[in-house]
Symmetry: C2
Subunit: 334 residues, 2 copies
Amino acid sequence: MGRVTIVDVAAAAGVSVSTVSKVINGRDGIAGSTRLRVQQAVSELGFERSLVARSLRTRRTHVIGILVAGFEPFSAEILKGAATALTDTDYELLAYTAASRGGGAGWERRYLSRLGALIGGAVLVTPSVVDADAGVPLVTIDPHTGPVDLPSVSSDNLTGAMLATRHLIELGHRRIGFLAGRPDLESSRAREAGFRQAMADGGLEVDPDLVRVGDYRREAARAPATELLSHRSRPTAVFAANDLSAMGTMDVARELGLTVPTDLSVVGFDDIPEAAVTTPGLTTVHQPIQQLAATAIGLLVDLMDEMAPEQTHVQLPVSLVRRGSTARALESRS
Amino acid sequence: MGRVTIVDVAAAAGVSVSTVSKVINGRDGIAGSTRLRVQQAVSELGFERSLVARSLRTRRTHVIGILVAGFEPFSAEILKGAATALTDTDYELLAYTAASRGGGAGWERRYLSRLGALIGGAVLVTPSVVDADAGVPLVTIDPHTGPVDLPSVSSDNLTGAMLATRHLIELGHRRIGFLAGRPDLESSRAREAGFRQAMADGGLEVDPDLVRVGDYRREAARAPATELLSHRSRPTAVFAANDLSAMGTMDVARELGLTVPTDLSVVGFDDIPEAAVTTPGLTTVHQPIQQLAATAIGLLVDLMDEMAPEQTHVQLPVSLVRRGSTARALESRS
DNA sequence: ATGAAAGCGCTAACAC
DNA sequence: GTGTTAGCGCTTTCAT
């Protein structure tokens, strides 16, 4: 038998659909006996109301959308953090992404339109462009650089990048390459700024030839990493703007016959779980990704409850995690 | 301005909504000039059709649902695998879960009802009870034990458990505890069977006191693990039915002042990325989780295209990954 | 080639 | 206390 609808329940209980609707929504003004009859019909038929039909009609659901450009390690951590933050609440979580790579530019707006009122609010993960109004409360994680000023949660990317770069400098590296991330994101800019500042602080200059742009994906890092590593005077260390790019760089290094960390030190950013599994383990800047998510969920829930959150731009601290992918620079070794 | 609907587009283009609908759905029987005018209106207004309204009307969407009991490491890997498998197709991916713990019994059916035709098919991850018919094609990953026979994808759990147990036996362990998983899942039963068989093969008997039941969650492992480890004659090794339980066991061991692997060896199952990050790293049975997902997606897409998949029950191979959480048994050490 | 109208499952006025 | 009705945004006959 097909899906059971409110009409079936009404028929079974011998009442009208609006009565059923009132019962399942806990409205009052319903005789106790009627309520009972309806409830019985509901459980007998195993009725569950359609989120779709309901959201088409009302302007609010209890579903939180997490909109991401793709399911990769970073967003997966976000999902875990969001779920944990929502444990034992009655919210439901809906993560959405187009399968096609990155969803294309402006995916956030498209997803939001497509989902409509299905979700009562959304967390946008690394969004590029969003026009402020979507009809539902929005919170961003690691957002783009730009004019629209949505509540946001991010890490202290500047400090993180300085930590990573300084670590390399302390190991004696002088020629340090930088593999940047998605240029549209604030995080990416901050990481580049941190890199440059730490280099300047260390009295080193940045060779423009040793700066390349990736887009945070492992595969996309291959081309720029290859350029970096086949440079006639190649760097002895590379700071990649995220772990996936760093892993891509290590892939390329291996193919080029370079040993990490002997011939090349590599530092990433994020500290996704995968970073510990590479060989050698990846030295990286730890971002509290799950906390980022929990914080975003906190802000969003406040917004959905029509409470003004206390802060609308939250920045969380980062730290350096040393693993096996970095070592003293060759020339400075005994 | 509120969300732009098909009505707005129709008004802007000076045509009826049905004409707009035909254009955006590529139906023919539309004058070229009209089509152009509509398309222009669509892009000018940034119109994106509502998945919700559409799915209410039609009986099929291009959205694949991944229904999970929660976003934890295993399901996160599934998501990554599914996304990778669908790269550059025009499917969209929607992962859904209730925030409340586990979603309650029968969550699969509830989610399915709530989502209705919003999704054109679904992958059910570790489902307990599903009545076959949901109106859309369904594929399960690591399903329950029971009568309903949906297409399924799982790992060779029996062999995996034997591998893990045999490894412990080879290290000289004799008192080996087992921390089982969700009893409703086929995987859990198979892992227990594998454990028992390997024990028997090794000429060891299973002490019923050393078998406890968890439910695959880290926190839920605390109680049974505590019982196991505070047993008067405690085991020198524990095989936990999944990594999260194994990590919970290590948590308890630490609190009890036991050092892993010196005082206690621990083996898990799954090889989630987190397993490599524990201290010491967790020895575990590697399951190709992302491949499980890719396989399930393959079956589902066939079903959605109304093609009969070649096989409906797929089992993937596993392997043992040795890390730091296992060592020779104390009594057998020099 | 185009439009009017019905209807998907539900909720919310408003009537009785 | 309960039922009737309109309508959310869309697709789809069926007229015109």
